[in-house]
Symmetry: C2
Subunit: 342 residues, 2 copies
DNA sequence: GTTAGCAGTCCAACCAAAAGAGTGCTAACA
DNA sequence: TGTTAGCACTCTTTTGGTTGGACTGCTAAC
């Protein structure tokens, strides 16, 4: 267990390092955080903190920089003390209130707001656990095309367009629609990832529908590939503003990691957490992208839909601010969803 | 007018610079491109080419690098001699043939293929000149929501979802649909950018429809903002691979310019060009992003729809390859569209 | 008009020296 | 026993100077 003074000094190092990105010297700490004891005392403490694994000294005549363990300690402290300053709460609220619309629109708005406010990269993931098909609608666009709309219990899946075979009149479209509903309603979207066309289902009378059905199933397959997960990301290039990535090679690597949306989505969603809970993952061992930390909050968006909102930034991130912003955002969204379900 | 030898030397400088990104010395040219005269002769020529504005000497004991004027000359020569090598044509064809689907899918596939093949950034823009509304369909999703589908003569606009007011039965939805079609069919999508809700249009009988109509018009507005232009972009991060952007600050600037999709779309579309024509814009004076060049080809996609496909890269770009790829791609797409219209 | 040769310029790399930043240790003190 | 001042020591950063090399421009000869 760390003494109070050690805690104070450790947090001072982290705070200072977050601000300046430079090794922190004993004198700095004395001047800015702990004027009631001398730099020599602080040096002693720093030395033991280093041997405990909290600090790293790049070379003998340099100050100390915090290890990932130190960041972990710092973040735990922030969260446990719920030291989440309600700064800018009203700004966020105003920004968001203007943009209420579909869930997708909220996601887009939220990522933009967070990225702009924090200057890091922001991600939102929506997971749909249910996605049982409740209806399939065929809409004749009167130009030889058919719009296929797949409705699930929680959303309208991205619709696809299909060429209408010659000689398909309104009657036949209605019949096709009936058939499709009979076959697919109540099934789960994910069942179609490896779906082979069931010729047996279609008797001779409906042979002429074959081509059409095949195409519609292709639409279903495509949709099921997305697996009920929507990922929205914004501010990737903000990463380049931060001093840790001074050479282009590093920057390239970071941006490359960001391109893997599935991976990022997994990081955000893979440990449940309660509605409104805040999680922080630091560094590659904790499964964040290399050299990065990921702060996440989870929000429940209805019975079978849940979302994660996150910020990705350098390990030397302004956690205080990020946690505050995410906390506020999740609160607003939870309220918003609550109201809607009234 | 340049002598033949000057042309040869100038192109040699550009070729070499494209390959190595380093100033080109007279000896290099002699060794690799022009062994039938001495380096001293080449030096003389280089000196006059410099005074003509084609070359730049970073310092007195360095070789020469090409100016934008030199690149202009080089590219013009490539295009006029239609020196477009048909390399990799079959690769492109195979890749694309797998992905034929809606125009949107083709756009996505095309940008990915081009970006991967060239290692630059690729953009595709689809412009729709007509976009007259031919039908508005309201689809009851049986969960209190109404799906609004707006069909134009050339495509289905992104549909929006609207809450169904209480007590709206099938009959009323049908009537609303009739009304909407009466009001909006034949109008151009762009008319709705500054559309104020015309209360006068709605007589007392339809007062109850007011709220619904307002929402639907909001959907229309949102759609018209996109102004019939679809932009697809891929490979932004490829820019970081190129040696001109060695410091992160420059890289950030470039990527920041790429974020402005509207600007990029404008660059790609603002001078017409024929079906299959190739255009190259070099540097900021020619309206490309700073430090970049943009190679564009235009394809006609039907009566009122046209597209531009482009590559954005550093001014020191491998024009030969890029021109070849774009040329082939546009050929394939033109064929593809041609077949469909048969 | 072309070329060899040479002087001249500038850059890049290297090294040494000096300055600066910070620590660790020691000895003294409360 | 914990704290502190002071100093020696280490390592980095900066500076300045030197050298070697890369190219050119010019001159004179062909």
């Amino acid at each position: 267990m760390l003494s109070e003074r050690k805690k104070k000094i450790l947090c001072a190092v982290v705070d200072s390092y977050i601000e300046t990105a430079a090794p922190v010297a004993s004198k700095d700490i004395q001047a800015e955080y702990l004027s009631d004891c001398s730099s020599a005392t602080i040096r002693n403490e720093l030395s033991t903190l280093e041997s405990m694994g909290y600090l790293i000294q790049p070379h003998v005549s340099a100050g100390r920089i915090p290890s990932e363990k130190a960041f972990r300690f710092y973040v735990n402290k922030l969260i446990s003390e719920s030291d989440v300053t309600p700064i800018e709460a009203d700004v966020i609220e105003k920004l968001l209130n203007r943009k209420i619309g579909s869930l997708e629109e909220v996601m887009t708005a939220v990522t933009r707001i967070i990225a702009d406010l924090t200057n890091y990269t922001s991600v939102a993931v929506k997971e749909d656990m249910s996605d049982t098909i409740t209806a399939i609608k065929l809409l004749d666009l009167s130009n030889g095309k058919l719009l296929v709309v797949i409705v699930t219990d929680s959303r309208v899946l991205k619709d696809g367009m299909v060429d209408l075979p010659d000689g398909f009149g309104e009657q036949m479209i209605m019949r096709a629609q009936l058939w499709l509903n009979k076959i697919f309603c109540g099934k789960h979207v994910r069942e179609f990832i490896d779906f082979d066309y069931p010729f047996a289902l279609v008797n001779d009378e409906f042979a002429q529908y074959n081509a059409l059905f095949k195409k519609i199933i292709d639409v279903l397959k495509k949709v099921s590939l997305m697996n009920g997960m929507d990922v929205e990301m914004y501010g990737e290039n903000n990463m380049l503003q931060h001093t840790e990535y001074t050479n282009v090679e590093d920057a390239r690597k970071i941006l490359h990691q960001m391109e893997n949306k599935e991976k990022i989505a997994e990081i955000l969603t893979n440990d449940g957490g309660e509605n409104g809970s805040l999680t922080v993952k630091i560094g590659a061992e904790e499964n964040a992208p290399e050299g990065c930390a990921v702060v996440t909050t989870r929000v429940s968006l209805g019975d079978n839909v849940s979302g994660s909102i996150g910020v990705i930034g350098p390990i030397r991130m302004n956690y205080r601010k990020v946690l505050a912003v995410l906390d506020k955002i999740s609160e607003i969204i939870i309220n918003l969803v609550g109201e809607e379900n009234k």
